[in-house]
Symmetry: C2
Subunit: 392 residues, 2 copies
């Protein structure tokens, strides 16, 4: 049997427009935060797994594994970059888990970073379209907001999801982000403000969209033997991944992300858990519609009922499944390669039970959903603290 894996240290930088800092600064800082949190030493780190989407285009730098090891003073340990668009972070994490499961390493740092603001806005938008299908989507001028607008329109037409319900996702996540001192946007917005903000791609307005962000996040993973000697290990019960067609027109449906459904089914099967066992979730709200679809595809509500679920506040703090309680991509920001790791770092802090004003009480099992592009990649991870009552 594969060995068990725990998260034993987490950290992330301030997210936002960080003109004065480089990708290497941000990565090193996030790693240092996670290392300090773990009480381990740099020499304990046996490998470095780095998630990044597009530093080649954002800052003219590939080869980010070696760069991160170099600047953290960790050479000659193995260091590799993992990429699946906005799901790059979760895949660095997943592959690090596998390396510990295999027995190859006992302690690994999995990090994610993106420095997006060095490009001007239109170039950043073109760069992000590298996550879509170059031959069929970006080549005809589609943007990512455009892709999700098509998905939103279809969801509205098929299930009666309303514009206001989508806006409520942003309202909830901004409200949560006010509490998060590392979030990019720490202010409340109203449904009316979301609806009246500038139209980006009908029906999605500016406040339906996650921002362009600089930031980095890191988690330290350890084998069971190491983790049991440290405080507060949070166990990785499962991390599963699935793919779908890159271009929207090749999908069976526009109103669900099949990759999420497959990855979630595998994670639930592996753990013996169902959606009702999940106490808290971090999901991929790159655009408001995507949180609604995620709530459905993860099984928290029936397909087509996500809008109503949001409207009834069932994903809010104190609701059935508190979601994006630290602000989500909308408020914390979305440095694409870092987001998957940031979600896991936040979930870990929640499951430890001492996350200050952000803490949701009584949470033992958490789920993170990190999505690449318009859904061609999805990664579902389930974490638990030692108090969780598990079936397996």
């Amino acid at each position: 049997m594969a060995r068990r894996v725990a998260i034993v240290g987490v950290g992330y930088t301030k997210f936002g427009e960080q003109w004065e800092r480089s990708l290497r600064d941000l990565s090193t800082e996030a790693g240092a935060f996670a290392l300090a949190d773990s009480k381990l030493d740099g020499k304990d780190i046996q490998a470095l797994y780095v998630g990044n989407m597009s530093a080649g285009r954002f800052i003219g730098q590939e080869h980010l594994g070696a760069l991160a090891a170099d600047h953290a003073g960790l050479t000659p340990i193995p260091a590799t970059r993992f990429e699946a668009a906005c799901a790059s972070g979760a895949l660095a994490f997943k592959n690090a888990c596998i390396a510990i499961e295999s027995g190859r390493h006992d302690v690994i740092m999995a990090a994610g970073a993106e420095k997006m603001t060095d490009l001007k806005g239109t170039d950043a938008i073109a760069t992000l379209m590298g996550a879509g299908d170059q031959e069929w989507e970006s080549s005809i001028g589609l943007t990512f907001t455009g892709l999700y607008a098509l998905i939103a329109r279809r969801h509205m037409a098929r299930y009666g999801t309303t514009r206001e319900q989508m806006a409520m996702v942003s309202v909830n996540n901004h409200k949560n982000g006010v509490l998060n001192e590392r979030a990019q946007f720490r202010y409340d917005v109203t449904v009316d403000q979301v609806l009246k903000s500038p139209m980006i791609s009908d029906p999605l307005t500016l406040l339906d969209c996650s921002p362009i962000t600089d930031g980095a996040a890191a988690v330290i993973l350890a084998s069971e033997d190491v983790a049991r000697k440290l405080e507060n290990p949070i166990w990785v019960l499962s991390t599963q991944q699935a793919t779908d067609a890159l271009a929207l027109h090749d999908r069976a449906s526009l109103t669900e992300l099949n990759a999420t459904r497959v990855a979630a089914r595998k994670a639930y099967q592996e753990t013996g858990l169902g959606h009702k066992d999940i106490d808290i979730a971090e999901v991929h709200d790159c655009f408001s519609i995507n949180e609604i679809i995620a709530l459905e595809d993860l099984g928290f509500c029936e397909k087509g009922q996500g809008g109503r679920f949001v409207e009834e506040g069932r994903m809010a703090r104190g609701g059935e499944i508190p979601t994006n309680t630290t602000g989500g991509l909308k408020s914390v920001g979305h440095p694409v390669g870092a987001t998957g790791i940031r979600q896991l770092a936040d979930l870990t802090m929640q499951l430890r039970g001492n996350y200050g004003p952000m803490q949701v009480s009584g949470v033992n099992i958490g789920l993170a959903l990190n999505i690449g592009g318009s859904g061609a990649t999805a990664v579902v991870s389930i974490l638990a603290n030692p108090d969780a009552k598990l079936k397996r």
Copy 2:
């Protein structure tokens, strides 16, 4: 103990300038070749691991794992892209091995691909510098030939390595490549031709440099249980990786690549083998000087003796350690993300013992060295056929 892994299928496309074909065409073709070679079916493939350096800049396309799974008709299986500059292919391979070792999968396709000729030459050169240090090297106008020229000059000054010895690397690899029908350049060159070819970065001339290439390669990996039911499994004895400082000025020495030395030491330790046990090698001759340094760092000769070793033909067919017998990066071509997989595919064919006119007789254990950038990443893999007499 971790499970054993075997290579059970290999394939690669024609390498060269392929104006009429896209990255997705090349990737799918290489995968189909490897699948046919394995006698397995597409539905047997449980995950897809893709090495690619810089498709974001070369063709405006990231998210290559999902793209490859999509175009091969393999969704929703997990698919991820791995990047460490020119060592991206070997890292897709290494991570696939780990996933089988862990028990997570039994059959994985590891592929590598790069489509480089869609950019004009100067843009391609700038893109390749993403493998170096953006802040300290590319920002001041250094090119990759420039980096290796600095290494070559230092090696010449310290050890008396001659310009002619470097040229002999190209002569040998072109001679081997004549036999390889998938090679980009199938013609002999002479020392005189190498020396008189256009100067790129003193002392390296055009014929010291590997070319800009389009191409893709794939290998299919299987667990021991699966492999034993198939013909001709080639066992992966070890695959090890190490890092070094990204910028040359931060290295302890310019005349060795410490990452190669560390990775080789780990691979020799893991297998209980020494350099004398290796029957055949594929090494990373992105520039002629790099093969000389590789022969030293892998232990095939003493440090500083690589030039003489080449001059005496000890790395040629029929020499002590036949090296790059299928043409190397110089003659086969160097589609950067594909090269690490192409080396392993060629080594596998040699170890099977029926590689037509390219076959080197009596080879049972082979080594591949794939290097990222100017040496900030190195991956050493050791393969063996069932006839190999192993100590462990």
